[in-house]
Amino acid sequence: MNAEVIIVGGGIIGCAAAYHLAKNGVSVLLLESSENIGDGGSTRNGGGVRQSGRDPRELPLIMYAIQNIWPKLSDMLDTNVEYCQHGNLRLGSTPQHKAILEGLTSRAAACGLDVRMISGDEARQLNPYLSEEVSCASWCPTDGHANPLMATMGYYKMARRLGAHIISGEKVVELRKIKGAVRQAVTVSGNVYEGDTIILAAGYESRFIASTVGIDIPMQPVLLETLVTEAVAPMFWQMLGTADADFYGHQTEHGSFVFGLNSGLEPYAKPGKPLSTSIAASAACRGIMRYFPSLSKIKVVRSWAGWMDSCADHVPVISKVEEVPGLILACGFTGHGFGIAPAVGLVLSQLAMGQETAVDLSALRYDRFQ
């Protein structure tokens, strides 16, 4: 089976690229190894659409996405992606926290982002549920959050509607070159698919697939955990984080709270199926209740875990590969690839079509590790 562009990986990155290509009339074939589309980080993440706290190399992508795509994404995808732009509060309670937040804030402000330090009282004016423990915060009014399940499945739904060919349960194990350029994707079931361009967006697994054409991207799998509560009446709409990064989260349009957790043991998780540990949710509940005492009676209904593709220098590789013409890499998102996904999908389609990209990608090249 042939297509102009083959995409390996049906997470939000692969589905968003498929959407833009199909919209431009390019024939696309997307291969996903799992039985379920979007079964990786894309449907397991905390939904943050943040500029604050980002590495400056990633800021142009997220600023582009927030200015140009997120506000109209629900219409584009005919799916309510629950995008909510009510700012990000990153909270602190000690002088060390204040120093961390000041560092993050001044680096981002230097890149032109509207983010500033505020006092505990100013934070409580923005969010009256905050406890007296909070003594400082950074505030970025243009940050926000969205629903990762709806955004991922929405891109998939629209790509499919626009004619992208999508197959799940097809695990790619090898790429093959013909006359010096990558052309074939071979799956575990022995099927061979052929295309002019191959976009590799398979999360951490991209490392093994890229190695079959001699390319290595230094990545590691790291486990992240999340919980969700019962739905309650609306309390506040900001995205929340902490200086220690021990939890982050928000209240959804549905009324539930989604919190991402950090126990510190993430890089040491057992390989295989991502499993919630018994300690992370409990530890996060203690952190959340310290800053939000009024959430102590709210009921946790579900918790889950997911793998992130942690790159050696903590930003993704979004790049063509000189030694392997036809290959485009999109991996190493290091636990913050959801917010930038709409911009990444767009620039991947532009790379594949040989157009100039909407955002300069030179800081995210594959050969920067040499």
């Binding site: 060919h165 509940c285 946790v300 579900r302």
Partner: protein, 107 residues
């Protein structure tokens, strides 16, 4: 291998499409049938797209019903559809209870 572009029978409105199937999240039979035609071919995808079975009862009531509806829409036997994963804590637990996972001596 699951080809997401294979042809389904056309979507035909049914008289009981307004029937609520997932009571916790108030999802109707018609919404589930529509979602299948929008490409949600697995029970996990249906759950993620519509929130069926993600409410307080965690799907104890509607799981079988949803499975039947999806299978009929796809024209397959219900038993070939993989169930979606159960998630801890299985029964809703208040944060203040979950937070006390270890005995702490009074200080």
């Amino acid at each position: 291998m699951n080809d997401r572009n294979r042809k389904l029978k056309p979507f035909v409105p049914q008289p009981d499409d307004d029937l609520i199937v997932c009571r916790c999240e108030e999802i109707t039979k018609g919404e589930i049938r529509r979602a299948v035609h929008d490409g949600m071919f697995t029970l996990t995808e249906i759950r993620r797209y519509l929130r069926t079975g993600m409410g307080l009862c965690q799907g104890q009531t509607c799981t079988k019903l949803v499975k039947g509806i999806v299978a009929r829409e796809l024209g397959v036997r219900p038993d070939i559809l993989e169930p979606s994963t159960g998630r801890a804590p299985m029964r809703p637990i208040a944060m203040e209870v979950l937070a006390k996972d270890r005995e702490e001596k009074a200080t």
